[in-house]
C-alpha cells in the first residue's frame, strides 16, 4: 500500500511540476530563451493567493483567479521591460537578465512581505479515503492531477487547432517567416508569457497547498526542478513537459521513500544526466542535426 501511496504522491507532485514545466517549455519553444524568473512568478502567485485568502477572506477559487490575473500581468510586464529590448541580443545576455529578474522578484517579495515563512492554508482540505487506514488521496493531490489534465487538454487544443496556437507554432519554427505572413511576433511572445505565468500562478497555489510553507525563495527550487522536467521531457515540447514533470515527481518521491530524503535531488539529477546522455534532446524532443 505504501507503494501505491508513493505513486499517488509522486504523480500529484509531478502534475504540479508539469504545469510549471509548461511555462519553461512554451517560452523556450517560442522565444528561444530560458526564463529563469519563472519559478519566482510561482512564488508571487502563491503570495497573492495567500493574502487574498488570509487577509481578505476570499474563497479559494477567487484567490487563485486573482493570483492568475496578477501573474499574467506580471509575466507580460517582465517580458516587455526586461526581455523584449534584448530580442536580438546574444542569448547569454538574456539568460543573465532572467537570473537578474529572478533575484529582483525574490528580493522585492522579501521587502514587501518579509523573509519569515508563512503557513499557507490549503485550497482544499481533507482527503479521499480509498482503503481506510492504508490508502488515501488528499484532495489537494486530486485537484493537482485534475488541473494538470485540464491544462494539458486545453493547451493541446489551443496550440493544435486555434489561430493563435498556430501562430505560436509558426513563431517557434521561424519568426522572420511568420512575421512576413502577417503574424505579430511580439504579441505572440507576450501571449506565451501570459499563458506561462497564468499557469505558474495555478501551480504556486497548488504547490503551497501540498507543501504549506511560503517564503520569498519558495519558487526557486520547484522552478529548477520543473526546468529539469522540461529538459527531461524535451524542451519545447508540450507532451514532453507532461511526461517529464510526472516522471520527475515519481522519481523524486520514490528516491525520498526508498533511498534517502537528503539524496532525492541527487538521484533526480543523476537520472536527468543519464537520460540526456542517451537522448540529448530529451524524451520527446526531436534531435535536429545542423545542416552543413
Amino acid at each position: 500500500m505504501s507503494f501505491l501511496n508513493n505513486v499517488i504522491t509522486g504523480v500529484s507532485l509531478g502534475s504540479i511540476y508539469a504545469i510549471i514545466a509548461l511555462g519553461y517549455t512554451m517560452v523556450y519553444g517560442i522565444a528561444k530563451m530560458l526564463n529563469f524568473a519563472h519559478g519566482d512568478v510561482i512564488m508571487v502567485g502563491a503570495y497573492v493567493c495567500f493574502f487574498a485568502m488570509g487577509s481578505f477572506n476570499l474563497p479559494p477559487v477567487a484567490g487563485v483567479l486573482l493570483a492568475v490575473a496578477v501573474c499574467t500581468v506580471l509575466g507580460i510586464t517582465i517580458e516587455r521591460l526586461a526581455y523584449k529590448p534584448l530580442r536580438s541580443a546574444p542569448s547569454l545576455a538574456v539568460l543573465i537578465t532572467a537570473i537578474g529578474v529572478s533575484y529582483l522578484l525574490q528580493n522585492s517579495a522579501q521587502l514587501l512581505w518579509g523573509a519569515d515563512t508563512k503557513t499557507f492554508r490549503p485550497l482544499v482540505e481533507g482527503s479521499l479515503v480509498l482503503v481506510p487506514g492504508q490508502l488515501s488521496i488528499s484532495y489537494v493531490a486530486v485537484l493537482s492531477i485534475v488541473c494538470c489534465v485540464v491544462v494539458m487538454i486545453a493547451l493541446t487544443l489551443f496550440t493544435g487547432q486555434t489561430k493563435m496556437g498556430k501562430a505560436m507554432r509558426a513563431c517557434s519554427e521561424d519568426k522572420a517567416a511568420a512575421q512576413l505572413m502577417g503574424i505579430d511576433v511580439n504579441a505572440t511572445i507576450s501571449m506565451t508569457f501570459a499563458i506561462g505565468s497564468a499557469l505558474a500562478a495555478v501551480a504556486g497555489a497548488l504547490m503551497c497547498s501540498a507543501y504549506p510553507v511560503l517564503s520569498p525563495t519558495t519558487g526557486s527550487m520547484p522552478g529548477i526542478r520543473a526546468f529539469t522536467a522540461a529538459v527531461f521531457g524535451g524542451i519545447g515540447s508540450i507532451p514532453g513537459a507532461l511526461l517529464g514533470g510526472i516522471l520527475l515527481g515519481v522519481i523524486e518521491t520514490f528516491a525520498k521513500a526508498y533511498i534517502s530524503t537528503d539524496l532525492s535531488d541527487a538521484v533526480v539529477f543523476a537520472v536527468l544526466i543519464i537520460v540526456l546522455l542517451v537522448r540529448p534532446a530529451g524524451l520527446m524532443g526531436k534531435y535536429v542535426p545542423e545542416k552543413v
Binding site: L157, A176, M181
Partner: protein
C-alpha cells in the same frame, strides 16, 4: 486612410523614371511606388536610388548579377530592413515605420530564396497561417469551441484547399510540409503567401532548382495567379527564359543601382546590361 495618389496617363510619373507599367494598368493607380529608396549597411551602400513603379496587375522582374541587392530590395519592401533613404508607397500608402507583419496586412506577401516553410506543420496548417490575418475569433472561443470558431475554421479549411488546388496540391493537405519534395515546397510557399491575400506578391527565385519542364509549368501558374487574383507580381529570377517569357517590365540591378529598366526586348539589347552580365567587350 491617406489620400490615394492618382496615376495619370500622359503625366509625369511621381518618380523620375521610365515607366514600364503595362497599358491596361495605366488608368489605375500603381500598386507600388518606390522613390529614392536606399539602404546602407555601415559604410556600404547596398541599394541606392531605387525608383520603381509597379502596375496593379503587372508581372515585374528584378534581375541582376549575384550580390546586386535584389533580395535586399525585397527585404526593404517587406520591412525586414528599414530603409535608410526614400519612400515606399503601397497602393498610395506610405509604409514608413511599419513592421513586417503590418506591411503584410497592408498587402505585400513574399516567398524566400531558401525555402522557409513551417516544416513541422502540415501543408494545410502552413496555408492557414497565411490566412491568419483574416481569421477573427478570440482565444476562448477557440478553446471552448464556440460556433464562431467552427464557422471560421470551416471557412479557413475550405479556403486553404481552394488555394492548394491552384497547384493541384489539395491531396497533400495533411502531409508534413518538411516531407514534401523540393518543387512542391516551392509551390507551397507561393500558396502560403497567396493566403495572406496580397495585392503585391514578391517571389524570390521561384524557379531555383527546377528543371525546364517544371519552370515552364511555373510560368503558366504565375500568369494564372495574376489573372485569377488580379494582383501584381514582382519576381527575382536568374532563369532568363522565365523572366523574358512572362515579365512585362524588367528592372536590372547591379551593385545596388538600377542600370536599366524596360521590356524584355529592351533589356536584352541593352549594352549596359550585357556588360554587367558578361563583362566589357574587348
Amino acid at each position: 486612410m491617406a489620400e490615394k495618389k492618382q496615376f495619370q496617363k500622359g503625366k509625369m510619373v511621381p518618380v523620375p523614371s521610365v515607366s514600364i507599367i503595362p497599358e491596361r494598368d495605366l488608368d489605375k493607380s500603381p500598386i507600388l511606388e518606390c522613390s529614392h529608396l536606399g539602404i546602407d549597411f555601415g559604410g556600404l551602400t547596398a541599394v541606392n536610388e531605387f525608383n520603381v513603379t509597379v502596375g496593379r496587375t503587372e508581372i515585374a522582374g528584378l534581375i541582376g548579377p549575384n550580390g546586386a541587392g535584389k533580395t535586399t530590395v525585397f527585404n526593404l519592401l517587406t520591412k525586414v530592413y528599414q530603409p535608410t533613404r526614400g519612400t515606399i508607397l503601397l497602393d498610395g500608402l506610405d509604409t514608413h515605420g511599419k513592421t513586417p507583419s503590418q506591411v503584410n496586412r497592408m498587402g505585400i506577401a513574399r516567398t524566400f530564396q531558401n525555402i522557409r516553410l513551417f516544416n513541422n506543420l502540415t501543408v494545410e496548417d502552413n496555408v492557414k497561417i497565411g490566412l491568419h490575418n483574416q481569421e477573427k475569433y478570440s482565444m476562448f472561443s477557440g478553446i471552448l469551441r464556440l460556433p464562431k470558431y467552427w464557422r471560421q475554421e470551416k471557412a479557413a479549411h475550405e479556403r486553404a484547399l481552394e488555394l492548394l488546388s491552384i497547384f493541384d496540391m489539395q491531396d497533400l493537405a495533411n502531409h508534413q510540409a518538411g516531407s514534401l519534395p523540393y518543387g512542391a515546397q516551392r509551390r507551397l510557399e507561393i500558396v502560403r503567401a497567396l493566403a495572406t491575400n496580397p495585392s503585391l506578391l514578391l517571389l524570390d527565385e521561384p524557379a531555383a532548382g527546377m528543371n525546364p519542364s517544371e519552370t515552364a509549368e511555373l510560368m503558366e501558374n504565375i500568369v494564372k495567379i495574376r489573372d485569377t487574383f488580379q494582383i501584381a507580381i514582382m519576381l527575382i529570377e536568374h532563369d532568363m527564359s522565365l523572366v523574358m517569357g512572362i515579365c512585362e517590365g524588367i528592372c536590372v540591378l547591379n551593385f545596388g543601382q538600377i542600370i536599366a529598366k524596360g521590356t524584355a526586348e529592351e533589356i536584352q539589347s541593352n549594352p549596359t546590361v550585357i556588360e554587367a552580365y558578361l563583362g566589357k567587350q574587348q
